[in-house]
């Protein structure tokens, strides 16, 4: 225990740096995934692009197809996905973010679609009845009501991505994967175990950080009427 604390204090700046990197890596990926999912969900949900006669079958079909592709991404083992991106995008930050974004899409998309379709149709009908146009209905009524479900999907995505992000070290990605990999490579060296423990527990630290973020976001953005 004592030696671990010494290790922490000796490498404090470096570890804080890793923490920041990990935090940001996860943040960017999930944010990107959320934007993609939201846009995709809005398009799929309202489907303004298809002719009305096709709308119903295409809408349902394309929703399922989108979820299918998104879940396929999550099914691919992280090592394999990073591996497939490496020849195309090289090493470092870019392929890491791309891979993690792909992973994060499924939970967010699934929850966004579920949240949007879970809004009571009677409420939407009432909104239409008072003369709200489609855009206003979406922005003022449907999205706010679906928000708790969407947020919960983003939270799941964050947890998953925090865990997978360490594998990015394989392709020289940032974050806590680095000390993990270093510890493994230097097996037997004096700090190798400490490095591995730090890499592993550091993820929990980042997760705790995000829990605080989410608590705040939930408080600030959930409309008062549906705050649980």
């Amino acid at each position: 225990m004592g030696s671990y604390l010494r290790y922490l204090s000796e490498n404090a700046t470096e570890l804080i740096f890793y923490a920041q990197q990990h935090f940001l890596l996860v943040g960017y990926s999930v944010a990107l995934a959320s934007v993609i999912s939201l846009v995709l969900a809005l398009v799929l949900h309202t489907n303004q692009l298809t002719p009305p006669s096709w709308r119903r079958s295409l809408q349902v079909g394309s929703r399922e197809t989108a979820l299918l592709f998104a879940s396929a991404a999550l099914t691919i083992p992280s090592l394999a996905l990073f591996g497939m991106l490496q020849p195309l995008l090289g090493l470092g930050v870019t392929p890491s973010i791309v891979a993690l974004t792909l992973y994060a899409v499924y939970p967010v998309l699934r929850n966004t679609l579920a949240g949007l379709s879970g809004v009571d149709p009677a409420v939407l009908e009432a909104a239409r009845g008072v003369g709200m146009g489609p855009v206003r209905r979406m922005l003022r009524v449907q999205l706010p009501l679906a928000w708790p479900v969407i947020i919960s999907g983003i939270r799941v995505a964050v947890l998953i991505v925090i865990s997978i992000a360490v594998v990015a070290a394989i392709i020289n990605g940032p974050g806590f994967g680095k000390p993990l990999q270093d510890g493994l490579a230097r097996l037997g060296a004096v700090n190798s175990f400490n490095e591995v423990i730090t890499g592993t527990l550091g993820c929990l630290l980042v997760a705790a950080g995000y829990e605080i973020v989410f608590a705040l976001v939930r408080r600030l953005t959930t409309p008062r009427g549906i705050r649980v």
Binding site: A72, T75, P77, G83, M84, S163, G199, T200
Partner: protein, 248 residues
């Protein structure tokens, strides 16, 4: 799909997609690589008998760990769903949810440090990593059984044990199987990391090619692993569909 297609094909058309993606994806990758020449290192990595051996190791890791998870998590999940466990239930599940952030890669290496390298350690790590989905789904599946059914069963004279075995578990099976499916896929993925602690598996060709900078071979081996994962997920999906179909 016309109305002439038999009902079960129409209802399950989403299950056709996965194999299609796999076949198309693999074809694209293979086409891409056959246009280039592979050097001797890459050829060794893509040698069929070598890959087959790694495949065998991989399957063993996946199946063994999933079976162990089922044996451990199902009874625990059943126990947690009983009214007596109500007080510790939310806490346990919330804790487990948070632990999703714990990296499998880290856990594998940590365990290797503590327990030594090798297949057994890898299996233990895989069990830990995929424990939660099965546990959560078992609990949730049992909790969402209509209380009126339980009341009817007890009211008819079924003992608590009979009610659990004949009513609650059969009705919770679809959700439990969904959890097992997630665990299975998770294990396929985490098993690729087992190579780092000397347990072999299909992660070995990927990581060694990455280390040696052979992009094409990395692409091909990764594609093979991805295809395997998708196929196993598809098989599990079919099994899941069959199970829920039978129970309506």
């Amino acid at each position: 799909m016309t109305a002439a297609a038999p009902g079960w094909i129409r209802r399950n058309r989403d299950l056709v997609a996965a194999p299609v993606i796999v076949v198309v994806g693999l074809a694209v990758v293979l086409l891409y690589t056959t246009n280039r020449q592979l050097d001797s290192v890459e050829q060794r990595a893509l040698d069929p008998s070598y890959l087959w051996a790694r495949f065998g190791e991989h399957i063993w890791l996946t199946v063994a760990s999933t079976v162990v998870v089922i044996i451990l998590a199902l009874p625990l999940g059943i126990a947690l769903s009983r009214p007596a466990a109500a007080r510790i239930r939310t806490g346990t599940l919330a804790f487990g949810g948070f632990m999703q952030a714990l990296p499998a890669y880290g856990v594998i290496i940590l365990l290797a440090f503590l327990l030594g390298f090798g297949t057994t350690t890898a299996i233990i790590a895989l069990v830990l990593a995929s424990f939660l989905p099965v546990l959560t789904n078992t609990v949730v599946g049992l909790l969402q059984v209509d209380p009126a059914l339980i009341e009817a069963a007890r009211g008819m004279g079924m003992s608590a044990r009979q009610t659990l075995l004949r009513v609650e578990i059969p009705l919770a099976v679809p959700v439990m199987v969904a959890g097992i499916r997630v665990a299975l896929v998770l294990n396929v993925g985490t098993a690729t990391l087992a190579t780092f602690i000397g347990a072999g598996g299909l992660g070995e060709p990927i990581s060694s090619m990455l280390y040696l900078g052979r992009g094409q071979a990395v692409l091909v081996t990764s594609a093979i692993v991805a295809a395997l994962a998708l196929l196993i997920d598809w098989l599990a999906g079919v099994a899941e569909r069959l199970v829920s179909g039978r129970l309506g």
